[in-house]
Symmetry: C2
Subunit: 499 residues, 2 copies
């Protein structure tokens, strides 16, 4: 009897977040839901992460309505979300009551499985969410944000796993968002956690594909006893995204492992998204192929392009190499934080400033907060001299408590503020939207009645990006077809006058 390996399909959340900047419209997902729901996945990740923000910021779509739609279209398979612990889906820490209400509303509207992580791996930042999820009888998945550093040994991660187990999680996830986990490391970590926590603690592995090695890491994790892996349908996979679901399934043949997933249905899902993805070409990630230099710099692809544009804006596009050498030093000074949102941005921006202005001559407020404990405890020892500079910069005392302890009850205030906004419907869901995105929510509430915006474009006729530009001296009155060669392809391109 083959051992069953479960699969969480990422097509509805992380795949399009990684590949097309979270822009996939609900209309373009709905058509695949029947097949997805019947395919035999352990869960479907479909909410949380950046999808909430993208819904209200770009799609004029109520994220709660999206969740209810998924629940209606996917009645059979458990729905999963990614939750940033005490930050929920926003960018600051929330007081515990807000966290509890958010989890409760997410469950009521359709979430079954909550994957809860903290960028610093400060477990105190995920405690409240775990407690809230357990209280409402849903599945709380604790998470280890995987990273590589001199202090991040297998033992350290295994210890973290044990502490998460003590917290009462229903399952554990190793989350490797930068594709850093190599095959042997994956094997050792899965073995170590299973040995320490017992076979009964369900273990999941989430990896991206960016470095090209992580399908092998999934194989090794399977051999070491992992229970479930995250993959994405092949037409929405690879590059900065994830390993292809079909390749994972085919790879297992004859190994003594198998899945419950129906390949024929999966191939129909593939065709569906292959068509859909073509509609979002303007948002498609420029990262393709593989990049193993991440192993050296430990910098995720998205962070690299951010820093490049920061440098260019400062007229210092030629100093990238210095910044790449500075980042590991800054990261060491922070006590080796994992480089994920928001720590990746904080460390990256400080490294750019160090190169441009002199080391720690200028500190960002966020970097000072990180050094002073306002994001939580870091994995290693911070450089005390840099902590001192942070104190001098921010004039705030360093803290060691759980950051949310310092917050006063805020729900009633948030509620009162939300209710004053035009278009707010008075529900707790709307209050949560306001709480997490106070800048974006007012505009969204005001325009919500206009309905969802789908940003997809017909790949053959979608010409809204085409504008006559400088140098054009003729008058174009009809469509013109060119054969144009660019970025590695010859294309027939039809250009029509801009309306």
């Amino acid at each position: 009897m083959d051992r069953i390996i479960d699969i969480t399909e990422l097509a509805l959340r992380d795949a399009h977040q990684s590949l097309i900047a979270t822009r996939l419209g609900i209309d373009d997902m709905a058509g695949a839901c029947a097949e997805l729901d019947e395919a035999g996945y352990w869960s479907l990740e479909c909410w949380g992460g950046a999808t909430y923000d993208a819904c209200i910021r770009y799609l004029n779509e109520d994220p709660w309505e999206r969740l209810r739609t998924f629940k209606r279209l996917l009645p059979k398979t458990p729905l999963q979300m990614l939750l940033r612990g005490q930050n929920l889906l926003g960018y600051r820490h929330y007081q515990d009551e807000v966290v509890e209400r958010f989890c409760q509303k997410s469950a009521e509207n359709g979430i079954d499985i909550f994957r809860i992580f903290d960028a610093l791996n400060d477990l105190r930042n995920i405690e409240s969410s775990v407690r809230a999820v357990k209280k409402i009888g849903k599945h709380a998945q604790g998470t280890i944000s995987y990273t590589v550093s001199p202090i991040h040994t297998t033992e350290l991660f295994v210890d973290q796993a044990r502490r998460l187990q003590d917290m009462g999680i229903d399952s554990l996830c190793i989350k490797d968002m930068a594709a850093l986990i190599k095959p042997q490391a994956a094997y050792d970590l899965v073995k170590g956690i299973k040995a320490a926590c017992g076979p009964e603690l369900r273990l999941h592995l989430h990896v991206h594909a960016t470095t090209g090695v992580t399908l092998v890491s999934l194989m090794k994790a399977v051999e070491a006893g992992v229970d479930c892996v995250d993959t994405a349908i092949s037409s929405m996979s690879l590059g900065p995204g994830h390993n292809p679901t079909e390749s994972f399934m085919e790879m297992l043949e004859g190994t003594g492992f198998t899945t419950r997933v129906d390949l024929e249905r999966v191939l129909r899902v593939k065709s569906h998204f292959m068509k859909m993805l073509g509609r979002y070409s303007e948002f498609l990630s420029q990262v393709t192929g593989v990049d193993t230099e991440i192993f050296k710099s430990q910098i995720p692809g998205g962070m690299l392009s951010n820093m490049e544009s920061q440098l260019k804006q400062q007229g210092a596009g030629d100093r990238m190499k210095e910044v790449l050498e500075e980042i590991p030093l800054v990261r060491r000074d922070t006590g080796y934080v994992p480089l994920v949102t928001p720590s990746s941005q904080i460390v990256g921006t400080q490294a750019v400033l160090n190169v441009l202005m002199g080391r720690y001559k200028v500190l960002t407020g966020e970097f000072a907060d990180l050094m002073l404990g306002y994001y939580g405890a870091v994995p290693g020892e911070k450089n005390p001299e840099v902590v001192k500079m942070a104190y001098e910069h921010a004039r705030k005392e360093p803290i060691t408590c759980r950051p949310a302890e310092l917050l006063k009850p805020e729900w009633e205030k948030l509620r009162a503020e939300a209710l004053t906004l035009t278009g707010c419907n008075g529900t707790d869901e709307d209050v949560l939207t306001y709480a997490m995105f106070p800048q974006v929510a007012p505009k969204f509430f005001a325009t919500r009645h206009e309905g969802v915006r789908n940003l997809g474009k017909d790949p053959d006729t979608g010409e809204s990006e085409t504008q006559p530009a400088e140098g054009h001296q003729g008058v174009i009155t009809g469509p013109i077809t060119y054969s144009v060669t660019l970025s590695g392809r010859q294309h027939k391109v039809t250009v029509a006058p801009y309306q």
Copy 2:
């Protein structure tokens, strides 16, 4: 002590053959040679396969001169070529004297390692080449063309390996051009061959990446004892090409295996080819990402697109599904030939005819030849009824001998014919060019003095494909810049009048 796994780098031959239709010019390779030569590869595949044909057909380049250039620029690392056994680099069987002279001249001009294969795995078709290579003291690598069918068991391939060993080969290669070898199959096959042939028979594994699983297969082959794997620099990898060299190297960390290759040099080679590849965008394969449906159809990607265009030409573009179902039946009737050049084209075209005209109502000459033994012995039992139809069609007796046995000495005749051609320089090398490509050689000899053509184009200004097309009613007098979204990207495109 980690066990050393050797690497053959494919950048100079199969990588660009798979990704940009073999068009990479020698100028665009020369700049990477110093780094490649010092990087520590076991060998550099740089000649043979389709490169000879592409040189004289498209690049006005003498393939022998290319080989001498490589030998000059790569003095340290053994140079490797791919040889189609008795077909050499052409498309028919050659008499043994021609085979011997070809091998001799290849060695004289720079080849150290000859990888010799036959599409049907009829070992009699590679015997003469192996003998010729041994005679001149070079390295003869025997090859198994990997395929999947009801009769292609591990035992069958192991038996083939043993027979190749008896032939006196210096090493053995498992060649999986359609990316069909799954991890467990790779493990079992490598184990089986090592057990049967002894650890002293050097074993190489050549895989393509198309199905997305074969980096895992390389890992399993390494665990099973493979000595050398084929990879391609990451900037010329994946899709219908091969697994990235850097990912393979990084993957081994901590596993007890390592390579002799210098990663820093490899990364500089990567940068070089990343720039070069952008110059060949018009030739870039349309196949990207992964395709696991090859496992079902067993049809390599290139063959699929060929058949699609055949069907469309016949106004039967909607009958692809029937053809995909017909192919396995035709292949069964042939005795399960591996589907590689030329058998893939022969089987594919016959399947198209069967669907369009009725099963075996019309036979191609090549299909009849295949059924009657003129390509050699097939792996399994042929369908006797189809053999009978082939005989009735072709009016040729079935043969069971080695096809080249039927050939009369032909060298002097080929030489005499070649010498009559304008521009033929009278060398044996030129005679071989004429022998293998009698249609193309005359034109090449006549234009050789004009020098090598480089088909690369500056990706920013290369506008030779840009032509004003139907519907254009204005007059464009200067460059126009558009923002154009197509095939998954937003691009700034500058279009200038066609000169």
